[in-house]
């Protein structure tokens, strides 16, 4: 690679020339819950970040000059990637779950295989909104609780607090550990596989 390219791409190793299928998994959760940490733990590359901006016409009218107001929102997200085989590359996105970002969800995350909702048991309320919206979007997800110490809650307590149906996996993890983070992704993909194969059976 010449220096003009490495100036731009840093030390990131290039993908294989045969790579032709990019897949997405989103890790969603409140601020400080460990999204970037988890991406870093399993990614082949140091997490990168980027942003998307979107301008929408406001609902109200700007009083000053009687024209509809516009708001520009910027969502910043980080991501990493894992080369799974010669052709398939899995991208992991760490995305904020707060209310004001969800209007960008369709545009950014359509085609995502599924989501990991990362929760901190000291602040479970932070994840209610994300879970609601994932259910509304029909995007399959699992819940992973990152252990920050503090009081221990049973899985039943957490399920109840999140109003989480029994068929949605809930696991414990340590986002700082590569093995643990890998296990989270495997749990999600296993869940997707179960959903997908039973959906196909019921239609044939």
């Amino acid at each position: 690679m010449d220096s003009a390219t490495s100036d731009l791409t840093g030390t990131r190793p290039p993908l294989r020339s045969t790579a032709d299928n990019g897949l997405k998994i989103v890790i969603v959760g409140g601020f400080g819950v460990g999204k970037t940490t988890m991406v870093r733990s399993v990614s082949d590359i140091r997490p990168l970040n980027t942003e998307e901006t979107m301008t929408r016409a406001g609902e109200g009218v700007d009083n000053a000059d009687d024209v509809p107001s516009k708001t520009t929102t910027t969502i910043a997200f980080d991501f990493g990637r894992i080369s799974l085989n010669d052709r398939t590359v899995l991208y992991l996105f760490g995305a904020p779950g707060q209310e004001r970002f969800w209007f960008l969800w369709d545009r950014l995350f359509t085609g995502t295989l599924g989501a990991v909702v990362l929760v901190d048991t000291r602040r479970l309320v932070d994840s209610w909104y994300a879970i609601d919206r994932l259910e509304q979007h029909g995007m399959p997800f699992i819940v992973a609780r990152n252990d920050f110490g503090g009081p221990h809650y049973s899985a039943e307590d957490v399920r109840e607090a999140l109003d989480l149906p029994d068929d949605i996996p809930l696991i414990e993890c340590d986002a700082r550990s590569r093995e643990s983070s890998k296990e989270v992704l495997i749990t999600l993909v296993n869940h997707l596989y179960t959903l997908s194969s039973s959906a196909r059976e019921s239609t044939t």
Binding site: M1, D2, A4, T5, L8, T9, G10, R12, P14, L15, R16, S17, A19, D20, N21, G22, L23, K24, V42, R46, L48, N49, T50, E51, E52, T53, M54, T74, A76, F79, R81, I82, L84, N85, T88, V89, L90, Y91, F93, D106, L108, F109, T110, G111, L113, H137, G138, P140, K182, L185, I186, V189, N190, L192, Y193, L195, S196, S197, A199, R200
Partner: protein, 118 residues
């Protein structure tokens, strides 16, 4: 690593895209892999030239955006230009056809094998 958006004031973005605000190419997903089909030429807009250099090996749209420090929507417009000129090709993700459809079990199986081998 660069902080994206360090100087993405509207004027700069307007200049980069020649004032266009819509790409008409929703074809470029965040993880569409882009490959250059030609080398930069003298006098080419610097962002176009940079994309051609970055994409000598397959590179996802979102990586290009991060490298250039530009929002994804702007990068989509730039990619649309290069695609229309035949200077890049795009390898689109092969996932579910529609948003409410689950991914193909065969693809999921491949993903599982890949993750277990990490």
């Amino acid at each position: 690593m660069k902080r994206p958006g360090r100087d993405d004031d509207p004027d700069r973005l307007y200049t980069v895209t020649g004032g266009r605000s819509r790409s008409g190419t929703d074809a470029f997903d965040l993880v569409t892999l882009v490959v250059s089909e030609s080398e930069p030429t003298p006098g080419m807009q610097s962002e176009h030239a940079s994309i051609l250099r970055i994409c000598r090996s397959p590179t996802a749209v979102v990586e290009i955006a991060s490298d250039l420090g530009l929002p994804v929507s702007i990068v989509r417009i730039l990619l649309g230009d290069l695609h229309a000129a035949g200077r890049i090709t795009a390898r689109h993700p092969r996932t579910a056809a529609s948003a409410d459809q689950l991914p193909d079990p065969e693809i999921l199986k491949q993903v599982l094998v890949g993750l277990r081998n990490l």
